[in-house]
Symmetry: C2
Subunit: 115 residues, 2 copies
Amino acid sequence: MEITHTKESCAASRRAIQDTLEVINGKWKLLILVTLLEKPLRFKELVREIGVTPRMLSKELQDMEMNKLISRTVYQTKPIAVEYAITEHGKTLNRVLEEIKNWGMSHRNKIMREE
Amino acid sequence: MEITHTKESCAASRRAIQDTLEVINGKWKLLILVTLLEKPLRFKELVREIGVTPRMLSKELQDMEMNKLISRTVYQTKPIAVEYAITEHGKTLNRVLEEIKNWGMSHRNKIMREE
DNA sequence: CGGTATCCGAGATGATACTG
DNA sequence: CAGTATCATCTCGGATACCG
């Protein structure tokens, strides 16, 4: 494909970016994703690990489950156990996550060097 | 460097991601960036191009200028002209932008295929 | 043209308490 | 344990009008 910078291609970029933002918006979704990328966790473990309130975690997990980014599995033990895991579709966000992570690290280094 | 998934590395990832999110948060910043990546634009041009209100554009531009992602240049013509451009530092977000864009395009294709 | 001031409603987020 | 309900607060973001 030819590399162009027409008004149309720029508008298409914006649409694509907006689409992605709709899926990963919110303060916690990417943090949840990167945490679950390491290994599946239970509700309370996520609360402790990320430092999010149960209310927000519940909401964001529901959003992400609707978008098929994560799966929710209930184990009928007692007490009940619920495990959240990243899905194959969720894993496709890995490259995005990696770049955001890399940028954050470089940026932090940059700020530290400048101070 | 060895690839590990310790609790510490995961926490570091989260910190990096949060750092990045603080810089690119908001509904419009990434859209502004990807638009300015093509070429510098003036205030009103950005309003028209992106479809953002002047109020929000003004706010986001100020944030981004503080974070050195964009530059603001005033031309003393009459009437006055102000041009916004992406900085070298802003360009370092290009890889993030690209991945977000790619994912958005794939995701849109995926949804269209499934319907 | 390039913004800013003001107002307002909607949604995000947190704290706390509570349920099955 | 795995959430939900409720309340309070704060911010986001749009509409509109206005200024230099």
